[in-house]
């Protein structure tokens, strides 16, 4: 009887753990961009820079500036974390991620920065990236 109780407890705990795990994974996958951020990207007000951060294509409104500053601070925090874990500098981690962001995460119509610092609009063709990008 006591054994049965224990097993029941264990099964309940396992089920609870599974449910929590699923919820966390779900929320991770569900993470979406702020609509204002998505809109600013689509409107070409901001774009992906070569250094792994967001930049202003046109002089920003205070709201857009605040939005981008906040995102860049959060990006830098993540880059710092990953750089430490991988024995790289923050600049290296940011640059590597920037290469990927321009190649894989800019949609046609969105802006990105070319190695010569000029802003380009992403189209169906491959973007112009820094020669150092792997």
């Amino acid at each position: 009887m006591a054994l049965n109780e224990k097993m029941k407890d264990r099964i309940e705990m396992a089920v609870a753990a599974l449910l929590i795990g699923a919820a966390v994974a779900g929320s991770g996958a569900m993470a979406q961009r702020d609509p204002a951020y998505q809109q600013a990207r689509a409107d070409g007000l901001i774009g992906e820079k070569t250094d792994g951060y967001l930049g202003f294509v046109t002089p920003p409104s205070p709201a857009v500036k605040a939005l981008v500053d906040d995102l860049n601070i959060k990006r830098k925090a993540k880059y710092t974390e990953e750089a430490l874990a991988n024995g790289a500098t923050v600049e290296e981690m940011a640059f590597r991620t920037g290469c990927r962001l321009i190649k894989e995460r800019t949609a046609p119509g969105e802006m990105y920065q070319a190695p010569d610092k000029s802003w380009k609009t992403r189209d169906a063709s491959p973007p112009v990236v820094d020669v150092r990008c792997p």
């Binding site: 991770g28 993470a31 979406q32 961009r33 702020d34 995102l71 959060k74 990006r75 993540k78 880059y79 990953e82 874990a85 991988n86 024995g87 790289a88 500098t89 600049e91 290296e92 981690m93 640059f95 590597r96 991620t97 290469c99 990927r100 962001l101 894989e104 995460r105 150092r132 990008c133 792997p134």
Partner: protein, 97 residues
């Protein structure tokens, strides 16, 4: 044989005694030896000479601020190593990328 010669040849002649005394004063380790005074004098002389030497190494604070360049170049081999990390950082934080 004059007076002086007699003194020199004698067992306890005055010049010999004086010479012995002076040697004792200069070299013996007796109390109040001149040698000690000479040592002190020599030490003082070295100090003064060293401070007066023009060939001394001069160390002075720079007038310009010290600048450390933190603009570290991006290392190519590190970029290759960050392939997986960059992929994961985007996937796990998709709301900020």
């Amino acid at each position: 044989m004059n007076e002086n010669d007699r003194h020199m040849n004698g067992l306890f002649s005055l010049p010999k005694a004086r010479e012995g005394y002076m040697r004792h004063r200069l070299t013996a380790d007796g109390n109040g030896a001149i040698r000690l005074k000479m040592k002190k004098g020599a030490f003082l002389f070295v100090c003064v000479a060293a401070s007066a030497l023009p060939g001394c190494v001069q160390v002075s604070a720079p007038d310009k601020p010290i600048v450390i360049n933190l603009n570290i170049a991006i290392r190519q081999e590190v970029l290759y190593r960050l392939d997986q990390a960059s992929k994961e950082v985007i996937e796990e934080n998709s709301e900020i990328f």
